[in-house]
């Protein structure tokens, strides 16, 4: 609700996989398909009570619901000044 009291909170780089899928048909963005034939997407529950959505590293063999996932970054291109742009994804912690 607008006007409610809020506080800053540091989020953990690790969480638990809540749901996932593996997409074979690209339609947006420039995410790399490498040799996996697609890319994973998941929702990860962080211990602070936040559910975050992100691409997943690997293939469906690498995770299942409940798997501990850790944040990692990867490059997606450059801005107009040539600076590297990175975004984040999550990978399974084994």
């Amino acid at each position: 609700m607008s006007g409610a009291t809020v506080a800053d909170c540091d989020l953990s780089p690790k969480g638990v996989l809540y749901a996932w899928t593996f997409l074979h048909v690209p339609r947006m963005g420039s995410i790399s398909f490498d040799d996996t034939g697609g890319y994973g997407v998941g929702q990860i529950d962080l211990p602070e009570g936040v559910r975050i959505q992100a691409p997943l590293v690997g293939t469906p063999d690498d995770w299942q619901i409940g798997t501990t996932m850790a944040l990692t970054t990867f490059p997606v291109g450059e801005d107009d000044e040539g600076n590297e742009i990175v975004t984040f994804r999550f990978e399974a912690v084994h």
Binding site: D45, A54, G77, T87
Partner: protein, 386 residues
């Protein structure tokens, strides 16, 4: 927190241009749908007091431009957009224009061609933020894998729902996907994997089309009935999100499940009936997990019991409570703007007992549900009188 209608509202005419993937101009399809609805109602455009156009693509002013094809009568013409629920919201605006006393007759007209829309795949490459690659297909698929984890739903159950809808569309001349054979579960499972566990035959058909509905006061409805039963709008409800546990803010395609439960609850309360009173239901079945979960969220069965409903065949034509009788988004198609109005078209035909081979025996009450990205949810209940 439901909303009200000041006076009873009736559907007096419906029309469609068949959904298709032929790249036809939206304007000509809209013209066909609108003129068909006017002919179905037995009125001329000069009697229409307000027009609500629902479209996602098409650009600025296309709604008022298309309205000129029907006549320069000077009426208010308004563009309505709410993602997948666009047509449902245009219908809702027309219903409330009559129910609130603004006009005696209002028309809702939806038209689109999803293949021509930018930003849904046709746009130029963008810089990728994490949310940019979250496709609708991914959201629905994550919903499905979570469902499989919690309830034990199998890929086969998803395929059964899709096959049912493909087969419903076989006798719908307005449907985009009309198979020349009985579609099997194995066939659906064997089609191209899109986003696990959903295959291409489980994904809704994107394409083009148009659909229209005309609503009016009881006085007008009785005058133009011409021996046909009246079809009353027993409920017209629309919601956006309320905060829920595990709320997803970025890119949630259909919002929290609670939104459908709440909107349906508002509609049941307004109509003074419950899920047990329904004879048929249309839902936003962009992917089969949606239809499965909506069995539960609309109160047709208990939570987690949807899979059993599928196994029993309860939701196919001839079953206890048929869903997506015209093929649904899966096979009738989902061009965007007109989709929600196609549901109104189908339900009106069913309640008049004019649905031919798809007719639900003795249908008197039908519910139409649409969800739209953003997120919004719209539920209409139509009821036959007499």
């Amino acid at each position: 927190m439901g909303t009200r209608l000041g006076q009873p509202v009736y559907v007096i005419g419906v029309g469609m241009h068949p959904f298709n993937n032929d790249g036809l101009p939206s304007a000509s399809m809209a013209d066909v749908a609108g003129m068909t609805a006017l002919a179905d109602a037995g009125i001329e455009f000069r009697e229409v007091g307000a027009l609500y156009n629902g479209y996602l693509g098409g650009g600025v002013t296309s709604g008022v431009t298309i309205a000129k094809e029907f006549g320069l009568t000077g009426i208010p013409v308004t563009h309505v957009e709410n993602a997948s629920a666009t047509g449902s919201c245009a219908f809702g605006e027309a219903v409330h224009a009559v129910g609130g006393g603004r006009v005696d007759v209002a028309m809702a007209l939806g038209f689109d061609d999803m293949n021509r829309m930018r930003g849904l795949g046709g746009g130029k490459r963008r810089r990728v933020g994490a949310e940019d690659i979250m496709l609708p297909a991914a959201f629905f698929a994550m919903w499905a894998t979570r469902r499989m984890h919690e309830v034990g739903t199998t890929e086969r159950t998803f395929a059964e729902i899709a096959a049912k809808n493909w087969n419903h569309a076989r006798s719908n001349p307005m449907a985009q996907r009309r198979a020349d054979h009985e579609v099997t579960v194995d066939e659906v499972l064997a089609s191209t994997m899109i986003s696990y566990p959903h295959t291409s035959m489980m994904a809704c058909a994107a394409g083009g089309g148009a659909a229209a509905a005309i609503v009016a006061t009881r006085e007008v409805a009785e005058r133009v009935a011409d021996g046909r039963p009246l079809v009353r709008v027993a409920a017209s409800q629309q919601r956006s999100e309320t905060y829920t546990d595990g709320h997803v803010f970025l890119g949630a395609v259909i919002g929290p499940a609670q939104m459908t439960r709440d909107t349906a609850g508002d509609a049941y309360e307004q109509a003074g009936l419950g899920p047990g009173d329904l004879d048929l239901v249309q839902v936003h079945d962009a992917f089969p997990v949606e239809e499965l979960v909506y069995y539960e969220l609309l109160g047709i069965c208990g939570d987690g019991d949807g899979d059993r409903l599928v196994a029993e065949g309860a939701t196919r034509l001839g079953g206890r409570i048929p869903f997506s009788t015209d093929g649904g988004l899966t096979a009738r198609g989902h061009p965007g703007g007109p989709t929600g109005l196609a549901q109104i078209h189908e339900t009106t035909l069913q309640l008049r007992h004019e649905a031919g081979a798809r007719q639900v025996d003795g249908a008197r009450t039908g519910l139409c549900h649409m969800a739209g990205a953003g997120s919004v949810c719209v539920v209409h209940i139509l009821q036959r009188e007499g």
